[in-house]
Symmetry: C2
Subunit: 157 residues, 2 copies
């Protein structure tokens, strides 16, 4: 970890000062999130995936038979918004929608071979794009950041 102790200047290049806001966790989380997300979105565009659809696809790959409601819970999204995403994934033959045998209200979602392959490529590309976006951090700092972000949500979710 190099020179993490050196405080960045409070003023931006154009001379705007704003100590209070610049020291808020939320402000810094948002800025970093925007930076990382735009990089990931760009990396996923060639796969015709958005971050949310990649995430849903990955969830289905890792949890065969998962239902739309479970995806909604896991991603903290509303059910209606999941439907459109599943529609897209199914139309592209990335996932199969089968009625659950035990509860016929539910769908049991599974990824196709094509879906599993795309998931692997897409998550790898997204992770690489994220790493480029945060290349100001060393590998150790990245792991530390990840650990801290995970810990933030301990007990609160």
């Amino acid at each position: 970890m190099d020179r993490l102790d050196r405080q960045p200047q409070d003023a931006a290049a154009d001379g705007i000062r704003d100590t209070r806001v610049r020291n808020l966790i939320g402000y810094n989380l948002k800025r970093s999130y925007m930076l990382v997300r735009s990089s990931a979105e760009a990396a996923l565009a060639p796969h015709e995936l958005r971050v949310v659809s990649m995430t849903a696809l990955s969830l289905i790959v890792d949890n065969p038979g998962i239902s739309p409601s479970q995806i909604a819970d896991a991603l903290q999204m509303e059910r209606p918004n999941i439907v459109v995403i599943i529609d897209e994934l199914e139309a592209r033959d990335l996932v199969d929608r089968a009625r659950s045998t035990t509860d016929r209200r539910r769908y049991a979602l599974t990824a196709t071979l094509k879906g599993r392959r795309l998931r692997d490529r897409a998550t790898a590309d997204a992770a690489a794009a994220e790493d480029r976006a945060i290349s100001a951090l060393t590998a150790e700092e990245k792991e530390l950041l990840l650990a801290l972000l995970k810990k933030v949500r301990r007990d609160s979710e």
Copy 2:
């Protein structure tokens, strides 16, 4: 920093697994950001402020004479979306809109006494709400997180 080394489980309470997505920086940034922001928004609601309007107000307090365009640049927002926020702040008598004497296309924004006082209370309440939202972190971990988030954007903004 206590037990940051202990890895959180990969599965959520309902048994959903998803190692790839759960280890993406962007995913964790978003989740933490959502948590912190909703806490801050709730704390600002009694002041009838959103995070973005508190941020703009704070920017005006700290930079008397700042123009809407400069606010847009600093907050990475489009100019049209700033107008509505300034309208609100002005209607509530928190900021004054005066034509710049040197460039009459520009507005020179300054905070009123009422605006400065509200800024102090609002930023303090927001900061306290953020601290509650991330109370899983120690004070040292919070400072470390802040330093890492600032460093992420070094050279890239």
